[in-house]
């Protein structure tokens, strides 16, 4: 089960909606924050704390790409390759990440430093190619800039 403080956080969320089921997405985010990813155990805890069937919790969790079903590296790189970023060279950056960091889409590096996910537009199209590292936006990316930026994420 979650700690008391977290149960309180979940109760506060439930109170905002006419039906407590709405707290499912927010609670999945909380579980991901606490456990790092959504293991079966984590989803079991979510189901218990919201009094929902586990099948519903897993069904919902599996629908959304931002819920992670395996452990992630310390830093999550979310790189956009949709059309605006593609036109500005995003694919080259995918190759670069592979060659420079042995980092491929949906893979975590062996030192667990980075995980990479390819994104469908992150709303930074005017300064593409763009990526999120954890919750930080980085744009106008080139090979050199990526290397420089990733230095900061150990």
């Amino acid at each position: 089960m979650f700690k008391e403080t977290i149960l309180k956080e979940i109760d506060d969320i439930k109170a905002r909606y006419p039906d407590p089921k709405s707290a499912l997405l927010p609670t999945l985010y909380i579980a991901q924050r606490e456990f790092g990813w959504l293991s079966h155990e984590a989803m079991h805890v979510v189901a218990q704390s919201l009094n929902l069937p586990e099948a519903m919790v897993r069904g919902t969790a599996s629908f959304y790409t931002m819920f992670k079903h395996k452990p992630m590296g310390r830093h999550l790189i979310q790189l956009c390759t949709n059309v605006s970023c593609m036109i500005l060279g995003a694919e080259r950056l995918v190759d670069f990440l592979k060659n420079r960091y042995s980092l491929e889409p949906n893979i975590t590096t062996t030192d667990r430093r980075f995980s990479l996910v390819i994104m469908e537009c992150i709303g930074a199209c005017d300064r593409g190619p763009a990526m999120l590292v954890n919750t930080d936006f980085h744009d106008s990316l080139t090979e050199e800039r990526i290397e420089e930026i990733l230095e900061k994420y150990k």
Partner: protein, 447 residues
């Protein structure tokens, strides 16, 4: 050349009047939606109040809710989320439904590739949106509002949550707003990376804690929406227009931009232009004007090849078709749609097969799987496009692309499938030769 605001006096403004000029005149317009955003503290409530913020809320409360709806109807405001539905009319449908409680939902899912227009409002002018939400909630007599925010905007979430806290502190939100015995509560709901959740019924499902799969319509959300109750779903930009409509009045508002589709519009320009970005311009400005005058023309002196005018789901336009007024009413007559106003500009070096392939990869990934034509069709289209792009296209592939697209069109649960099919149909209409050459030469002719 920016001049000060004279409420209710449209003559004083430098906006294009009721005709669209296709010339290259630079339009200098007083900022309504992006007002004050150069101020680094623009997201703070005090800064917003300093430039006149929340005054329109008190003004709106002097009207009856029905009169606010009438004013918005009269203004001609159309929804900025993509479909361009008249906002006041939508509100009056929810108002006419006798069921209570009613809910107001702000669509901040902004998932349409190429779109980044709601982001500056969310990150830099959140109180404009909040003021718009409170006024709109008052109009439709909703006591609860929710902002459905895409998961990919973590910074906007922080800003919004802080802004909402501030609005509660100043009594703009709560059980007794401004001591007027009006109740309005607001919360942010964070999506989790599903484009389909931008579609209003999928959004509602997601808000209810479920998978984001669209519902069959009718019933429409205005009657049976969130938790089975009458629900208004409006886009961020739509709601952010509301305070100004109250301030200037419907008549003055309707003088801005196109006659059938008035108001300020946020256009987002990306791709091969000198000055990409979000531009606030009068609705109905021509695509040519946006690209050449405001966005500085094509980058590195290259030649324009094609434009996707309203986000990836709208049909491509070739370079010689850009003299079209960018509004919801005109664009369909010119072979495309305004969509989210996301203009993606492509120069002569961009491969149209590759763009189509990448677009379909997106649709395949984002298809929710509920209905067969979309789920299977987008995968088929992607596979065919992939092999053409990789030099393995076969004779008959182009006909197959058309056939699959035509089969998807009009046969899906929601417009996602139509969008995917429309992209392929539009590309084949204008750039068929590129597909043919890829197949003939057995390689991408641009690599």
């Amino acid at each position: 050349m920016c001049h000060s605001r004279k409420s209710g006096n449209p003559e004083k403004r430098n906006w294009i009047p009721h005709q669209v000029r296709n010339d290259r005149q630079k339009i200098i317009m007083e900022k309504i939606l992006l007002k004050n955003i150069e101020n680094p503290d623009s997201a703070d409530i005090n800064e917003y109040i300093n430039v006149g913020g929340y005054k329109n809320l008190s003004k709106a409360f002097e009207y009856q809710p029905k009169d606010v709806i009438e004013e918005v109807k009269k203004s001609g405001l159309r929804g900025r989320g993509g479909a361009g539905f008249p906002t006041g009319m939508k509100w009056s449908f929810a108002d006419a439904d006798p069921k209570f409680p009613k809910y107001l939902v702000c669509n901040a899912d902004e998932g349409e590739p190429g779109t980044f227009k709601d982001r500056p409002i969310l990150e830099k002018n959140p109180h404009l949106l909040i003021e718009g939400l409170i006024i709109s909630g008052y109009a439709i007599r909703a006591e609860y509002g929710y902002i459905y925010l895409r998961g990919e905007y973590p910074y906007a979430k922080e800003v919004l949550n802080r802004a909402i806290r501030q609005a509660y502190e100043k009594n703009y939100l709560g059980d007794n707003v401004l001591g007027k015995n009006i109740k309005f509560h607001l919360a942010v709901y964070q999506g989790a990376g599903a484009y389909i959740c931008g579609e209003e019924t999928a959004l509602i499902e997601s808000l209810e804690g479920k998978k984001g799969q669209p519902r069959i319509k009718p019933p429409f959300p205005v009657n049976v929406g969130a938790w089975g109750m009458p629900t208004i779903v409006n886009n961020v930009e739509t709601l952010s227009n509301v305070p100004y409509i109250i301030e200037a009045g419907a008549v003055a508002y309707s003088q801005i931009g196109s006659k059938d589709c008035p108001g300020p519009k946020l256009y987002c320009i990306s791709g091969c232009v000198e000055k990409p970005g979000v531009y606030e311009l009068p609705m109905g400005i021509s695509l040519r004007n946006i690209i050449y005058t405001h966005a500085g023309g094509i980058k590195d002196g290259k030649k324009l090849k094609a434009v996707i005018p309203g986000g990836i789901s709208t049909s491509v336009l070739p370079a010689d078709k850009i003299d079209c007024p960018m509004d919801f009413v005109s664009m369909p007559k010119h072979g495309s749609m305004l969509g989210s106003g996301a203009v993606i500009v492509m120069d002569e070096s961009v491969c149209m097969v590759k763009v189509t392939y990448r677009a379909l990869k997106f649709f395949e990934h984002e298809s929710c799987g509920k209905c067969v034509p979309c789920r299977e069709g987008t995968e088929w289209l992607r596979k065919i496009l992939e092999r053409i792009e990789q030099g393995m296209g076969r004779e008959g592939d182009i006909e197959l692309l058309s056939d699959v697209s035509e089969t998807i069109s009009g046969r899906t649960f929601c417009p996602l499938g139509d969008g995917a099919a429309g992209v392929v149909i539009g590309m084949l209409k204008h750039f068929r030769h590129e597909f043919e050459e890829h197949i003939k030469n057995a390689k991408c002719i641009f690599s």
